[in-house]
Amino acid sequence: MNTDTKLENGINIIVLISIFLFLSSYFTPDLILSKTITTGGDTASHYYPALYLKEYLLPNGKIIGWCPGNYAGFPIFQFYFPLPFLLIVFLSYVIPLQIAFKLITILGIFLLPVTALFSMKIMGFKFPLPAFAAIFTLVFLFHQGNSMWGGNIPSTLAGEFSFSISLALTVLFFGTLYKGIEEKKYLLTNSFLLFLIILTHVYTFLLICVVSVFFLLSKTKTKQSFYYLFKMYLLAFLLSAFWSLPLILKLPFTTAYNFVWVIESIKVVFPDIFLPFLAISILGFLFSIKAKEKRVWFLSFSILGAFILYLIASKIGVVDIRFFPFIQLMPMFLAAYGLWYLIKRFKGKWILVLAVLILTILWVNHNVTYIHDWIKWNYEGFENKHLWSTFSDVNEFLKGNASDPRVVYEHSDFHNSAGTIRAFESLPLFSGRSTLEGLYMQSTVSSPFVFYIQSEISKQISCPLPGYSCSPFNLARGIEHLKMFNVKHIIAISDKLKQALRESDEVTLVKTIEPYEIWEIRDAPSNYVKVLDYEPILVKTRNWKNLSYEWFKIYGDDGPYLVFENKISDRERRLFKVIEDKPNLNNLQKIGIRDNCSVSEEFGIEEIRIKTNCIGKPHLIKVSYYPNWAVEGADKIYLVSPSFMLIFPNQENVRIYYKAVWYDTLGNILSIIGFLILFYFCFRSLTLNQKITRLLKR
């Protein structure tokens, strides 16, 4: 290694260390290394899943499983990205979980400058372009244009740390992919990287799919590139199949969220902090045309790809503005190229790198306002909030476990004083009791009903799901729906709800912990399993969600309930007394069922044992329907309104349990095959390298 290379490497190291120190001046060790539970936005609600993975899922030999804590139960980590949580758990075997959680939430932020530098180096860009690229990532990280789109620090603090990690990996992947296709190497590395990206976020994966098209546009290498990409995607898919295959096949059991964001001005996309760098990036692009610099065209193509995805997002059922971070970040690399091009023939470039580093940090710092406060708010934790003792007392009073009836809380900005508006989503963590709302609202078919209930009992509502209207305040209806969801306790905060509860004869005040009041629903069933009051109505339909939602607006715990099937068998025609294609929701047929049934239950996390004397009668299970639930002691599990399970026991003892379905097993097998392929070729290439090395030594 000659002196120049040593100097360049030394400067690169200085740049990375300086960036690290600058980031650490914001994410200070006293906050990050404190053993408190992170709060802030959605981040707080990610902690319980990490704990759940550590204490329940992994000890039971699984990554994906069932969590009863929110939304009447949902498949945890099937529709959210498990890799960051696995990292948190693995790290927590060495350090406390709270600190491991914090470190992984900021991992993407610290990783992005590093992967940017190495990506540019791998692509073959000369010094000091990789250093410039690393430095300019700070502009993207610290921009305060939004806190929801992803990648920048405010978005990461708001809970999008998985995307942050995925973005950093994607930047690295661009480098290895470009190099790999150009020189026909890194196939295994790229496959593995892509697998990691799939397990950290899907928006980055989508962008990669579109950006890959760049290599098919070549006049000479299209066929080779296609084969390379095919093998890479195939191996990445195999590796991730344990997660991605069931995800694809179980999409019908999710709730869509294709939100269209209205961008009012370009300043929202590129706030002032970007302006000097955007100017240089335009220069960089023009220089790349002059120099016929294909690598820069590749990076520019990713901007185009992200914009195309933004335009078609709502049509493919995704959120459009989630592609904007790429449109914001990639110009920073073009700016790095532009600056490099301007100074490439000058001597002493390492001095300029240091000057650019200082000036960029000063510029970024000058443009930052609230990030310090947000970081402090998040990482000082729940325990340092002034509402902590009140919040703890409420949870302590409600203490129980998943087999107890659920607890509901009134939605309110006030809860922010406990750390986040979503503070009570963590009832399963702090009290052990299940609640209705949660973070992963797309992961289950029950979420529209949960938010409808929220609107019935809350003065201030969120109503977040496009396409699902909410209710005006209506406590009486809300209580009916709460009984349907086996909710026994209500946490009230607003004067409006408290007054309505006082005027209701269906509830009793059981505890006041100012400013909260905890109310108990007097004749709440307290069971997750019940025999229906009326015969269920079997409806043949493929589009059950809208029908069930409209049904929910009208009917309460008594029913009659609707059962949804695509096809109706002869046996079902005999089993169901009422069958309709287009039920009149305002006038459903009510056929009473004898009510001297005795039903007892043992409610576990992934198992429900029922003992009943009403064999052959419809039993409602107040748990979200999901294809992984299986039954012994009944023929099948039916999907019943709102989004629950229904069985007709054919014996006294019935067991409903969560198990893998065939595509879970297939996915696992494919993943094993993928890893075997990966290890085989890794071993083979290592062995080959050893042979080559020995040959050369001779």
Binding site: G124, R345, F346, T369, N416, S417, T420
Partner: protein, 276 residues
């Protein structure tokens, strides 16, 4: 509908980006007897509610109650009456008092602000003392300068009493300064930041009092902005030095890198760090 591979969660962050701005409108108060009422209209001009709002009067000369207002929602004005009682032995004349507003935002962070109010006790007087507080950018501590002018014909020994919100603390609450007729003088108070939010601005004011048989009071107002500790000049200087060295090197050694030198560099740098 073509449901692609996705549908996976968008987190809808709930971090707030609102603000609270409490505006007070007061009337000058005339007290002829043992007590008087000051009428205050409060309005939240921001876009998020202020919680646990409490109003109190800062004064060494008058006694009053603290009023708990509760929640002040945006664009929902409230009118309050605070009664004031002069302390025993108070001279007739004009006085300045501070109205301290304390509140919490949705996160439970506490804030406060002060506003001046004028009170006339039995006899209205016009003060010769006028003042101006220079705006101050404060990180941890700073010096608040008040320029005072005596516009009258007599020399006055003026008591300057500083009123600050809870987040800002002065080393001394009051100072005295002797000013001759038509003379300006400047006085400084050391101010410390004890919890002022970065990026926020706080109104401060000082009462300028003097008395003989009657009491006279003027008001000087100013603003303190909380900013980060600024080492930027040092680093800007360092960057300029580095840039200068870079320029000097390239002027001195005018020969630029040739294409072949650039290409040679390419093979040395072209070491991939990941292998199959």
């Amino acid at each position: 509908m073509f449901i692609a591979l996705i549908a996976i969660l968008l987190l809808v962050p709930t971090g707030f980006a609102g603000y609270i701005s409490i505006s007070l409108t007061t009337e000058d108060v005339l007290i002829n007897n043992n007590s008087g009422i000051t009428k205050i209209k409060m309005q939240n001009l921001g876009n998020e509610a202020a919680f646990n709002v409490v109003l109190s009067i800062l004064s060494e000369d008058f006694e009053s109650d603290t009023i708990s207002v509760g929640t002040l929602n945006p664009n929902d004005p409230k009118e309050l009456n605070i009664s004031l009682s002069p302390k025993e032995g108070l001279l007739p004349g004009s006085y300045s008092v501070g109205i301290l507003v304390q509140y919490e935002d949705a996160n439970g962070y506490r804030f406060s602000s002060v506003s001046p109010n004028r009170i006339t006790y039995k006899t209205y007087t016009i003060s010769d003392a006028y003042g101006l507080i220079e705006s101050l950018n404060l990180s941890e501590k700073g010096s608040l300068r008040i320029r005072i002018r005596n516009a009258g014909e007599k020399e006055h020994n003026i008591r300057i009493r500083l009123y600050t919100p809870n987040e800002l603390v002065a080393s001394e609450k009051e100072k005295y300064i002797l000013i001759r007729p038509k003379e300006d003088k400047e006085i400084a108070f050391s101010i410390f930041n004890y919890g002022g939010l970065l990026g926020s601005s706080y109104v401060v004011f000082a009462s300028l009092d003097y008395w003989n048989d009657l009491h006279y009071s003027g008001i000087a107002r100013g603003m303190i902005s909380i900013q980060k500790k600024d080492y930027s000049f040092f680093f800007i200087g360092l960057a300029l030095v580095l840039l200068s060295i870079f320029v000097i090197i390239n002027i001195k050694f005018k020969k630029r890198l040739t294409d072949s030198q650039l290409l040679q560099g390419k093979s040395k740098n072209d070491k991939a760090s990941l292998y199959d």
